[in-house]
């Protein structure tokens, strides 16, 4: 029996430690992991809990992240609660197996500490790896600070393992700005946290010898489409369970999570849509700008990145006063508009407000995003609103050295 870990009412934890404590409290059966900056302390912490008797499960050291996720798939198919952690290049190496995990409907929890993708090699935080996972069929939830990096994995087990969902879940946090920043965290006691997560209920487990099953079957043109459609429907139906779990978590802790977080949107004339640790910066800038210049700025943040909250984004942007929105993508777009821009625009197109929408690429490779820059971008949105049309290129770059870079102009007057 695992030992109880003594916790204070308030602890000072960074995002990595917070995530590792959540995995410990969930009493994961198998963690198969390979270390990579900046997520290493999550599995390092987990390994020490196993070694010191705080966990009854197994820690499997593997030869790569491909092996790590493969080990997770095997253990989950066998019938265990399974989790791991990774970042960046490790995430990229996992990608093939991520699709296996979701297609096989195995509710693995992957804590991802977001980091840029090479080349050039970079260990700092941006959202390239998170974006790389967006078509993989996983639920993706984003934590903006250490408290959330602790809370959301606990919710993730509940969501993914729910019998109506049975899908793997990623919980993201920003590399360094969240993973290595120590903040006050209010943890639950071990028994309270475990009771919230609940016992794992295996489904179609390979260790049931009375009912041998095939996992990972091959399907061709006669079966594949039906299976992928069923998988997609499970993902599209997941919001019901996500909302329920968040509501229950609020009842337990008082901390409220929503698939789309909105700040000061009720009367907003301009808005920023962004993810991760930048949300806090943007909210601070918006408050200051409202006070200093009376510009009514709101912030929208899709905490649940997948399934994309088309419904709630539409609701958040259907504000009669809203004129201009800037979607900020912290990932190199690779020859397109940023993903947030594309998806938020699609949702906003069917609103009555139908605001002007522009795109900023920012923060690549850990480039700082500060309050003053957030304010400058907000004021630029106000200029669009006042002019009645987009006064800049549609896609621009924030915090980039060199001649001004931008693409596409509006054809709407």
């Amino acid at each position: 029996m695992a030992k109880e870990f003594e916790l204070n009412e308030v602890e000072v934890w960074d995002g990595n430690y917070a995530a590792s404590q959540a995995l410990r409290q969930a009493q994961v059966d198998v963690v198969a992991a390979y270390p990579i900056t900046p997520s290493t302390p999550i599995v390092e912490g987990y390994g020490s809990y196993v070694a010191n008797g705080y966990i009854d499960g197994e820690f499997v050291m593997v030869e790569s992240e491909h092996g790590a996720m493969s080990g997770c798939v095997g253990a989950a198919a066998a019938g265990g609660r399974v989790a791991t952690a990774t970042s960046s290049q490790g995430f990229a190496l996992m990608v093939e197996v991520l699709y296996q995990a979701s297609g096989m409907r195995l509710p693995i929890v992957l804590t991802v500490v977001n980091r840029a993708l090479a080349s050039p090699l970079n260990v700092r935080g941006d959202h390239s790896d998170m974006y790389l996972g967006r078509d993989s069929g996983w639920i993706q939830i984003d934590a903006f600070d250490s408290q959330e990096a602790y809370d959301l994995p606990l919710c993730a087990f509940r969501i993914g393992e729910h019998l109506d969902v049975r899908l793997p879940v990623m919980v993201h946090q920003d590399g360094f700005t969240t993973s290595h920043k120590a903040q006050n965290v209010y943890p639950l006691k071990d028994d309270v946290a475990y009771k919230f997560v609940g016992d794992y209920v295996p489904v179609d487990e390979m260790l049931d010898f009375t009912r041998p099953v095939t996992h990972g079957a091959q399907t061709e043109e006669d079966w594949h489409f039906e299976h992928k459609a069923k998988q997609h429907k499970a993902l599209m139906d997941a919001p019901k369970v996500i909302d329920e779990v968040f509501a229950e978590f609020k009842k337990l802790t008082g901390r409220e999570y929503k698939r789309v977080e909105t700040y000061m949107m009720e009367d907003a004339e301009v808005a920023l849509v962004l993810l991760g640790s930048s949300v806090e910066t943007a909210v601070l800038a918006a408050k200051q700008l409202r006070e200093e210049e009376g510009i009514k700025v709101g912030i929208v943040s899709p905490r649940c990145f997948r399934p994309f909250p088309y419904d709630l984004i539409r609701e958040a942007l259907d504000v009669p006063t809203l004129k201009a929105v800037c979607c900020m993508d912290k990932s190199a777009p690779g020859g397109a508009m940023g993903a947030l821009f594309n998806e938020v625009s699609a949702a906003a197109y069917s609103t009555n407000a139908r605001p002007m929408i522009t795109n900023y690429i920012y923060g690549l490779g850990g480039r700082d995003f500060a309050v003053d820059e957030a304010k400058r971008i907000m004021k630029e949105q106000k200029a669009h609103a006042d002019a009645g049309h987009i006064t800049t290129n549609i896609q621009q770059f924030s915090g980039l050295r060199g001649p001004k870079l931008g693409f596409y102009e509006t054809r709407r007057s």
Binding site: G103, M104, R105, L106, R166, V203, D204, F209, T210, R211, P212, V213, T214, H215, G216, A217, T219, D222, W223, F225, E226, H227, A229, K230, Q231, K233, A234
Partner: protein, 149 residues
Amino acid sequence: MSKGVLATDKRGMRELGAEDKVGWDEVTKGVVLDSFEGDASDVVHQKAEERHYTDFNSYTATVASWRIIKPVYNRDICIDCQNCWVWCPDTSIISRDKQMLGIDYDHCKGCGVCVEVCPTNPKSLLMFAEAEDNDEALAGWPQKEKKAK
């Protein structure tokens, strides 16, 4: 060829893809497929032909349509050493009570491993073109090779 090797055998009873097709709402979660009908606790003690395989177990399907060369088995030379049975990667050597019965042509992919590992002289298994008649293949079977001194 395999049909009738064991009277009760259900292997290769249908073409792959002949199973009933259902819509997305009826397919299993995660493409999990049952191997056996009912409680399979005792299946490990049963011989293949005694087991109740489901339609989604490839045992009951013909899954060798793309084989282009095939092993032919010569009972007259075989010493029942079971080497081919051990080495076959697709469990396509049919053997009961340590006696070799023949090739499961519904599952054999024609890799030739059984021929490679056959220790007799001449070999009891040889590869022939898929279209070649087995009786003709047996009629032209090579003679024992003399050891070079």
